[in-house]
C-alpha cells in the first residue's frame, strides 16, 4: 500500500470532499480519510431542501446536494478510506507530516506534505449549556436525532421540546412534526430567533409551534425518561429571572444549541485556536499556525451554508497546492484582520495581497441598515440588515489588500 501523499484530507463531509476533488483537479496525489462507515458528512442526513443555492444555483435537499459532490468524487477515482480514524498528526519536518490512521484493514502510517483538516463540528450538549437536573433517557442533540430518524429510521420521542431556534432547531421542529410528533415549543435564549425567516415561517408558523424568545431550559426532570423541563425567562444579560419558572411536560429534549469545531487531533499537533471561532487561526490560504496543515468547513468556522463550506474546501486545496508545489507557502507580509464594531468573529485571520480573499464574519447583534467598513482600505458595503445567525461573506480584492499597512479592520456601523 502506498503511504506517501501530497495531501491527506481528513473528514469526508462537503468540505473534505470538495478539498479532495479540487486537489485532484490540481494534479495532487490525494487520499481522503473518513471516520464513519459512509462518506457525506452532515448533509447525508439532511432530507430538507436549502442546500446548494449558491453553488449549484438550485435548491436541493442535503442528500441530493452531497450526492452530486460524491458522484464527482467517486467518478474521479480518488482514493479514500471509510471506517478510518486519524489518531495522530506529527509535524515531521517543515514539508512533511506523519499521520497515524487506524482502519479496519490495519494501521496506516502516512507521510503527507499537506493535510487538510475537515472534520466538521460537534454539537454542544446539555452540560455545556448549563442545564441541570436528571440525566435521563430522552435527551438528544439535534444531529443525533436527525441521524436516528433519517438514516436509521427510528423515532426518538413523541412530545418534543427543542432548545435553540437556529436553522437546525427549526428544521428539526418541522421534521418531528411531519412524522407525527408534537413539538411543544422551541426555546431560544436570545431575544430574536436564530434562524432564517423562511424557516420560522415554514417550520414553526405552518404548524403553529410556539417559539419562546428570551427563555432558557434550565432543568430537566424525570425518573427514567424525560417527564418535563423547566423553562425560565432570561434578562438582557441572559441570566435567568427568578420567579419566572414554568413547567413544560414532554418526553424528549432536542438540543440545537450550537456547534463547536472538533479539533483534538490538530490541537495536539500544535495548532493555535481563536477563542472567538473556536477554530484554528488561519491565513488566507486557510493554513493553520502549523505549516502545511490546512483547515476548511465547520472545523474552521461554523457555517450555516454548505455552499461556503465547499468554497472553503476548495480554497484549502489551492493552499495545499501552493504548499506542495513550492515546498511551503511564499514568505509574505501578512496583514492582520481586526474585528471592529459589532463584529464577533472573522476568518481568515491574516491576509496578503497575493490573491483575492473571501472573508467570513458574524456580527454580535442584529442591526438594520448598516455599512460594513474597512477603513484602512477605504472599502464600504451597504447591507439592509445583519444578524448573528447569518454569516457575512465579502471578497477583498488583492489590490485593496495591498493598500493596507499591517492590519485591516472590519466594522459594522449604522448607515447614516
Amino acid at each position: 500500500m502506498q503511504n506517501e501523499y501530497d495531501v491527506v484530507v481528513i473528514g469526508g463531509g462537503p468540505a473534505g470532499l470538495a478539498a479532495a476533488i479540487k486537489s485532484k483537479e490540481l494534479g495532487l496525489n490525494v487520499l481522503l480519510i473518513e471516520n464513519r462507515e459512509f462518506l457525506g458528512g452532515i448533509p447525508i442526513q439532511c432530507v430538507h431542501p436549502g442546500f446548494g443555492l449558491h453553488y449549484f444555483r438550485e435548491d436541493l435537499t442535503g442528500t441530493e446536494f452531497i450526492h452530486r459532490i460524491l458522484k464527482k468524487f467517486l467518478d474521479m477515482g480518488i482514493e479514500y478510506h471509510t471506517n478510518a480514524h486519524v489518531t495522530e498528526i506529527i509535524p515531521h519536518s517543515y514539508r512533511h507530516k506523519i499521520l497515524k490512521v487506524v482502519t479496519d484493514k490495519g494501521i496506516l502510517k502516512l507521510m503527507a506534505k499537506a493535510v487538510i483538516y475537515a472534520t466538521g463540528a460537534r454539537e454542544r450538549h446539555m452540560f455545556e449549556i448549563g442545564i441541570t437536573g436528571h440525566r435521563v433517557a430522552g435527551i438528544y442533540t439535534a444531529g443525533e436525532a436527525q441521524t436516528m430518524m433519517d438514516i436509521y429510521g427510528i423515532m426518538p420521542g413523541k412530545e418534543i421540546v427543542i432548545v435553540g431556534s437556529g436553522d437546525v432547531g427549526l428544521i428539526m421542529a418541522r421534521r418531528f412534526t411531519l412524522e407525527g410528533a408534537h413539538v411543544k415549543a422551541v426555546i431560544e435564549l436570545m431575544p430574536y430567533p436564530g434562524g432564517l425567516t423562511r424557516n420560522i415561517v415554514q417550520c414553526l408558523e405552518d404548524f403553529g409551534i410556539p417559539l419562546y424568545l428570551s427563555h432558557a431550559v434550565t432543568r430537566v426532570e424525570g425518573k427514567k425518561r424525560v417527564e418535563k423541563v423547566i423553562i425560565t425567562k432570561v434578562d438582557e444579560n441572559l441570566r435567568p429571572v427568578p420567579g419566572t419558572e414554568e413547567e413544560l411536560e414532554c418526553d424528549t429534549v432536542v438540543l440545537a444549541a450550537g456547534l463547536v469545531p472538533y479539533l483534538k487531533v490538530i490541537e495536539k499537533a500544535g495548532v493555535i485556536i481563536d477563542p472567538a471561532t473556536k477554530g484554528p487561526v488561519v491565513n488566507s490560504y486557510l493554513e493553520t499556525s502549523v505549516p502545511g496543515i490546512f483547515v476548511a468547513g465547520n472545523a474552521l468556522v461554523i457555517n450555516d451554508l454548505v455552499d461556503y463550506v465547499v468554497e472553503q474546501g476548495e480554497e484549502a486545496a489551492m493552499g495545499a497546492y501552493e504548499f506542495v508545489r513550492n515546498g511551503g507557502l511564499p514568505a509574505l507580509r501578512w496583514r492582520k484582520l481586526v474585528k471592529g464594531r459589532n463584529v464577533r468573529l472573522l476568518v481568515p485571520h491574516y491576509v496578503s495581497d497575493t490573491k483575492d480573499v473571501m472573508i467570513y464574519a458574524r456580527v454580535k447583534k442584529p442591526e438594520e441598515n448598516v455599512k460594513v467598513r474597512f477603513p484602512e482600505i477605504g472599502k464600504e458595503i451597504r447591507l439592509p440588515f445583519v444578524k448573528p445567525s447569518e454569516m457575512i461573506r465579502i471578497k477583498l480584492r488583492k489590490t485593496d489588500i495591498a493598500k493596507a499597512g499591517d492590519k485591516i479592520t472590519m466594522e459594522v456601523v449604522p448607515n447614516e
Partner: protein, 121 residues
C-alpha cells in the same frame, strides 16, 4: 358588500424578509403592501390564495445500506394536504436498489406531484 380581511406575512423569498400585508375583499385581493420587489408580491398572493410546500421525509427501504431512503415531492403541493401525504408515506416500503430521483409514488393524492427519492439506497 363582502367581508374585508387582512393578512400579515413575512416574505421568505429573499433574506430581507419584508413584512407584507395583503388585503382581501371576499375572494379578491385588493391590495398588497410592504414588499420591496415583485417576487415578494407574487409570493404573498400565492401564500394567501393557495399556499404550497415541498414535503420531505423518509420511507422505509429493504436491503439498502440504511433502513430508510429520503424522499420529497418533486413540486410544491397544497399545504393542507401535508398530513395526508405523510400518512400515505407511512405505509410505503420499497426495495433496494433505489436510485436518486426514482419515483416512489406517482401523482400523490392527485396533486400532480410525484414522491421521488433524494438519496440512493
Amino acid at each position: 358588500m363582502s367581508e374585508v380581511r387582512k393578512f400579515k406575512l413575512t416574505c421568505i423569498i429573499c433574506p430581507l424578509g419584508c413584512n407584507i400585508e395583503v388585503i382581501m375583499e371576499g375572494d379578491r385581493i385588493v391590495r398588497v403592501t410592504g414588499c420591496t420587489c415583485p417576487r415578494g408580491e407574487e409570493y404573498a398572493v400565492q401564500e394567501v390564495m393557495a399556499p404550497k410546500r415541498v414535503v420531505m421525509s423518509v420511507v422505509k427501504v429493504k436491503g439498502g445500506m440504511f433502513p430508510t431512503v429520503s424522499v420529497k415531492t418533486d413540486k410544491p403541493v397544497p399545504k393542507e394536504l401535508i398530513p395526508e401525504i405523510m400518512k400515505e408515506l407511512a405505509s410505503v416500503e420499497v426495495e433496494a436498489p433505489v436510485h436518486i430521483g426514482q419515483v416512489i409514488i406517482e401523482n400523490i393524492l392527485g396533486t400532480g406531484a410525484n414522491i421521488v427519492a433524494t438519496r440512493p439506497a
